[in-house]
Symmetry: D2
Subunit: 320 residues, 4 copies
């Protein structure tokens, strides 16, 4: 059912009520839908490794990224503390011919390929599991559901749904294209893959391929293909552990309401407890899946255990 | 053979000559010993997943870490761009009850659990594969062997050698204890595990457990158990892809020469092209291995593809 | 009158009521006691320049500073984007023999010589001029009284009160020594200087000289000489524009109550609107004042207009 | 004489030979032309304060600045460590109703209103005073002429040359307009002001006013009015201590050679030892000067003593 474009708040409230997982894993839960990904699921997923080939699903982390400073989200700034030029000139003071290079980085945790942590989005002042947002994420960070709690968990069955290739033209969905449950189901069917409990679902729209070809343009926050607000039920019913896209914002932009900002986030993160990934680079993996027809694989996407973080840069690795 | 304590430069030169891999994978190589970890090895490693249990091998990334500022190596500084307190007070300007939290981090890439990239250490002005250090790592970073090249590769067979448990007392080696080839062989034998081509070897000394119990003290750069300078041959002969420890500096400290600084690094990184990990937290994994007797497992330790970086923070995940 | 050591909250409330400047300069005021420093005062102050000698009153900004990470206050981390070594090797790509060096800094605004902005301290949820702290300083910074508003104002008559030299032994007050109104008056009298409306008062305790000699120790937050809680009335009655010390925390530490944290700040900043400086290096200036007997001078201490900042690093310059 | 557009290297070499100050203040000099600004000059300058009005000549430091990431020059990122929202909610753990806010900044030292330090530019591998660039500015910073050496010195006679108002149309010079010695002389004559030894000269082009009206556009590195390469002799002959403009790059852009990058910098900084300021906001001061006809004033522009820095953010304050 298409929601009323003029009433995002009502639509969000209804979806939140339908798809809430509050209390499902106890009142102390800090993992959300990652609870679906248990040892049994993980064991089964390991059997998906057939050829031993591996794919990094990360964009690069550097000043050539898409960020333009919206809400202080910049591209990463990487600088050197020591260099080979200094070492070669013998300026470092180390003995026996040793030279070294060290480096530092300053970056938003949301600047490139990332997980959104459970403390990233709130619904009317409520964080995941019904907690008070003000008591959960302070200036000290997410003192309850910080992403460090997810550190050992994000390894399991990955499923690629290459909606761009199945539904789009030339492998790409146009900007503003909302991916519905029907598109997800049709793509899975075309791939001959099923999506189920504990899966880490990767939805390729093709927008990143377009940005790579044409330049970033408005990749960071502008129009983009993405998940429809209506797809929340599909995510909930399939009991997936996480979902990621090759876009900046996961959900379709402009959003499907007249005045809205990321309404699907508002349902998915604080209400469902769903782990959401953004800015993944799915192109090399997608080409391989198209070639061998295998759309399920072993996937590890380990967040850095930054204490209290509401997100993490990641380098997801898929192995087939 | 114990090297002459007064001649680190000679010992390094001899070891470098014996264990050099320069040219082994072509003059354009940017992977070093990661070349040993191929698809076949990776496929075989996936079969090591039996129970589906997973372990994060990362220390936390926060201000409570061990760094004291040596050569500007600080602990990570994580700050919030938006908070739940602001969201709860309705100060963010988002529509329909949405609130958000974002965050940033500033950190040395060597501050916590990490890989040393191939551009991290030089030998007399030479970087990995015989390249000129001054043309390899400039103020712009490692323009040849930046850690981004390793992005898809570090997933394969992990082997834990719990030297602390086998050789030490109470599971811990004392500070200053050099781990020799004989210790490594005895530990492997005790574990009933073999080390071979393409393995990601994790050497537990127990020092981190001690620091956790007694406080950091001089963990960052002070005395520590670690690999003996003499163990370079073992690493080379076994054709391992990478090696990591639970210490700040990988090799034994004080170093085994009168006036030296990290001489084993000088052999291993620029000459062997060996990927070295430091500050890993191996304790939970080690307890599990001791319990089930299985010291080989699936290991993913994906560096962030920070363009030109000479290291990367990581969250390694072992799955058994 | 010595306040009751067991009742800081009561003492603060009484002092706040007595010395509040709320509303004194209108409900929109963003300058506090800087209002006392007008053009007429500034013009008169310029006449204090007799010899033309100048003194920097800043500590250096580098990793050798006193900070230890309390509440994420670190020392500044300065790194290079380009270097002379790279330039000398011709690696920068500039034409006609040009080479360049650029640099970046990451630092708390409170890390070294600084002004505390009006948004730095709150009293029971109230910021300067009676504003709601929650509406004044959010994650976006101080959206009302950010230090940028002070940018053109902090230039006027400086007065040094070298309490360490007049009251202390060997030019230094011991840690824990509370500087009272009587000490301030006696010092001014000994110097032959008067303090009045619009003055920028510099109180030297000698603690920095001690730290320079003996090492930082607990300079950042430990015991220190400093202004007594009881001196608030003196600051208020004299209508000074600002006051600064050579200590980390301005007021005496341990504070003069059994369980307290910087109670004088709580009176001075949100209630009086007083500009407070910390970690100033007054030693060279003090030596000159002792030599020539002139304790009043021209002083400029311009905060960087960092939008929304609650403090600023500064390099104050005194000219005599 | 107009230099040959096809031979910047020759023109630079000739100008460097003519205007070099190497050795003028001894081989250990770290101040360059700041040596011209002595106590006598400073004393005389203080007499220029007539009305006591003060002007900040700094642009703001925030994400709304002009930087676009060229060579990793970003706008400043200011984040909060503690906020009033947290304080108001009682989340900070301080006693007796105290609340606090702290903040941090990460920024290039060249991001906004700034001084270029003496280590900022090199000529064929030579830094100021003929030093080897590679031994002067390493990854540790400028280990010889770091800007901390200038900390007490930059206070003296400021002179505004409002070339935009005198020569331009509507108070602004067009982009690409080279300001020659003749323009500088004509402007000084129009203002009734003389320029001489030890002066801090401020050249207003009007470009910032245009950017403020029309948006930043290519302010950071694009076409701009600025000092002509041919004006080096004027700066040298007048023995000025420093010179600053309201543009990103000080000298005219595009530069006056076919293939060049900031050739006047190459003469002025390493050869003359001239202190150069960029991105100053001279508009409010200029309006006042036009109103009262007084173009000379007291100026303080104190660099932060960041150890080893090749530049510094500043908040210059002019007092008339």
């Amino acid at each position: 059912m298409t929601p009323d474009r003029t009433d995002p708040e009502g639509a969000i409230a209804r979806a939140a009520a339908l798809y809430s997982n509050w209390g499902r894993w106890g009142e102390d839960d800090v993992l959300g839908t990652l609870n679906f990904l248990d040892a049994q699921k993980r064991r089964a997923a390991a059997a998906l490794v057939r050829r031993g080939v591996s794919f990094s699903l990360a964009q690069s982390f550097d000043m050539n990224g898409p960020q333009k400073g919206w809400r202080r989200r910049t591209n990463p700034v990487h600088t050197m503390l020591d260099t080979g030029t200094d070492a070669a000139l013998g300026l470092q003071g180390f003995p026996h011919g040793l030279g070294g290079a060290d480096d530092v980085i300053a970056m938003p945790l949301q600047c490139s390929t990332q997980w959104d942590g459970l403390g990233h989005i709130f619904d009317h002042g409520k964080a995941w599991n019904g907690r008070d947002a003000a008591r959960t994420v302070t200036s000290e960070g997410d003192v309850v559901t910080g992403i460090e709690h997810m550190a050992p968990h994000v390894a399991g069955r990955g499923v690629l749904l290459d909606v761009g290739r199945v539904i789009g033209a030339g492998g790409e969905l146009p900007d503003g294209f909302p991916i519905t449950e029907a598109h997800l189901a049709a793509t899975a069917e075309a791939h001959g893959v099923t999506v189920g409990r504990g899966d880490l679902v990767l939805v390729r729209t093709g927008q990143l391929a377009r940005a790579r070809r044409e330049g970033w343009g408005e990749y960071a926050g502008g129009p983009a293909p993405g998940l429809s607000f209506t797809s929340a039920g599909w995510m909930h019913a399939n009991e997936i552990a996480a979902i990621a896209t090759d876009t900046w914002g996961f959900e379709v932009r402009p959003n499907e309401f007249d005045h809205a900002f990321q309404p699907l986030h508002q349902v998915a993160i604080p209400n469902m407890g769903l782990l959401i990934g953004e800015m993944w680079d799915l192109d090399a993996l997608a080409a391989d899946c198209a070639a061998d027809g295998a759309y399920a694989f072993w996937l590890t996407a380990a967040p850095l255990p930054i204490t209290g973080a509401v997100g993490s840069p990641i380098n997801p690795i898929a192995v087939k």
